[in-house]
Amino acid sequence: MKLIIAIIRPERVNEVLEALYRAEVRGLSLSRVQGHGGELEHTETYRGTTVKIGLTEKVRFEIGVSDHFVEPTIRAIMLAARTGEVGDGKIFVLPVDKIYRIRTGEQDSAAVTPVMVS
């Protein structure tokens, strides 16, 4: 099992969510972060003070997947998040020792397999 962390542009969130949905990735968590990379910094001006803002808004996805889902997940993110401009972001794949589903106590792959309700 792996934990996939992807840092992407906020304006691509809906595309990525959709691509993941098509790739049958159902579980994920996301949060706002601020990133620094090769992006152009922008300046803000408050009266006499000029402030350089070195950080850009990004959204961070965190997705626990079983091994055979790693490839499709990465492919989905890569395609949906890419604009080709500097600042598209990064994906990190981390090893995971164990996964639990809190509701049922199921472990590992079972814990990240969506319950088929409908």
């Binding site: 803000e44 408050y46 000029t50 402030v51 950080l55």
Partner: protein, 432 residues
């Protein structure tokens, strides 16, 4: 003719009313800004705030004279240009008991907020330079003529159109202009691909509350005196939005099972719009009824607008053009001469008034559409009207104004103000 005397009560009320209406423009900034996404909140608010600079100056220097001096049936003359002759001596026709400077200021607040209302049609995308040019010219070229037609001695007023405080002059005009502006400026780049959810709903409620508060000056002050007419207009302004809110909430309950905050705020504004032309003409119980009835057209217009491919997402058309037209027509229905000393409407036996009202709506709408269209096309020859895709994606606050609405300050590094100067702090990091 006896020499006119300044009436202290009338002046006290009109100064209060003018201050109240001035507050409506920033209030509108909060109403609109709260509905904008969190990356466009300052841009949206500034669209309102800057009308208090650019449009107000244009009005004081030129617009007022064009709208309110005698002139002809289509336009005033230039006698009050540069505030020439706008002094402290009472006796002017439209405001006989107060200082003319206050009447000028009072009317300026109307012109300014009408201009600000238009900005609701083009949130999240209009280049700000083009916007400043637009609001400076629109108040003179579009608002002033229509104001003249209805209130300044122009042809619509002569026809007997009733518009107590601006159903056609302000609301039909602004709503139509907003729709045209949305079409000419074009949709946001990601319109239809992205759901725009309001970023700060409490601000929407704050805006609506302050708008209602200010609207007492708007309608009550349109009597230009502290008298029974003002009291009538005030009371209708008090009752109508309450009626609208009840009907709107029931419609929301039926449709989605929930009373919504955006709905309550919208209902207040729509109720105020609907009662505006009628406020000095109809008895209070009809005012309350008009508020309730007036909810329907705007409510359904908003449902319908959401399915159109035009990005008029703050619903200025559905709220103000539809609401203003509804109010104007219903004024022709519910007016009672025993209350207003001017004219009866349909239910008091004067069916013709409804037609006169409809004509005024049509005339104002047509000119507003045409004027706004031409003006934007002309500005578009000189300046790009819409900001680029990347600018919109990053948000208009940062790209148009270099500011963020809510910042925590992380990663913010101070640099010296002068271009080319050495950074003051060692912590300034170079560009990778």
């Amino acid at each position: 003719m006896p020499k006119a005397v300044l009436n202290g009560s009338d002046l006290a009320w009109m100064m209060t009313a003018t201050a109240l209406v001035l507050l409506m423009t920033p209030a509108l900034g909060f109403f609109y800004g709260g509905m904008a996404g969190h990356k466009n909140v300052l841009n949206t608010m500034l669209m309102s705030m800057t009308t208090l600079g650019f449009s107000l100056v244009a009005w004081a220097l030129v617009g007022y004279s064009l709208a309110f001096s005698a002139g002809n049936a289509l336009l005033g003359d230039l006698r009050w240009v540069m505030l020439n002759g706008v002094n402290l001596a009472p006796g002017q026709a439209l405001s006989p008991t107060i200082a003319p400077v206050i009447y000028m200021a009072f009317q300026a607040t109307f012109a300014v907020i009408t201009t600000a209302l238009v900005s609701g049609g083009i949130v999240g995308r209009m280049s700000f330079r083009a916007y400043l040019a637009f609001i400076t010219l629109w108040i003179v070229c579009v608002y002033a003529p229509i104001a003249h037609w209805v209130w300044g001695g122009g042809w619509l007023g002569s026809l007997g159109a009733l518009d107590f405080a601006g159903g056609t002059v302000v609301h039909v005009n602004a709503g139509v202009a907003a729709l045209v502006a949305a079409l000419v400026v074009g949709n946001r780049k990601d319109y239809g691909r992205q759901a725009f959810v309001p970023g700060n709903v409490p601000f929407v409620l704050l805006g609506a509350a302050l708008l209602w508060f200010g609207w007492f000056g708007f309608n009550g002050g349109s009597a230009a005196a502290s008298n029974g007419l003002a009291a009538l207009a005030f009371t209708n302004t008090f009752l109508a939005p309450a009626g609208t809110m009840v009907v709107w909430a029931l419609l929301d309950l039926r449709r989605v099972g929930k009373v919504t905050a955006i709905g309550a705020a919208s209902a207040i504004v729509v109720g105020l719009v609907v009662i505006t032309p009628a406020s000095g003409f109809v008895p209070p119980i009809w005012g309350l009824v008009m508020g309730g009835l007036g909810a329907l057209p705007s409510y359904f217009a908003m449902q319908w607008r959401a399915r159109l491919p035009v990005d008029e997402s703050l619903d200025v058309f559905a709220g103000h053009a539809v609401g203003g037209a509804t109010g104007a027509i219903l004024t022709g229905v519910f007016a009672v001469k025993a209350w207003n000393t001017v004219q009866n409407g349909l239910i008091a036996g004067n069916a013709a008034q409804v037609l006169t009202q409809a004509l005024a709506v049509a005339g104002a709408a047509a000119y507003s559409a045409l004027g706004t269209f031409v003006l934007l096309k002309v500005i578009g020859l000189v300046l790009p009207l819409q900001a680029g895709r990347a600018e919109q994606a990053s948000g208009m606050d940062i790209t148009q104004h270099g500011e963020e609405a809510y910042a925590t300050g992380e990663g913010a590094v101070l640099v010296l103000p002068e271009v080319g100067a050495e950074p003051r702090l060692e912590t300034v990091r170079a560009q990778a």
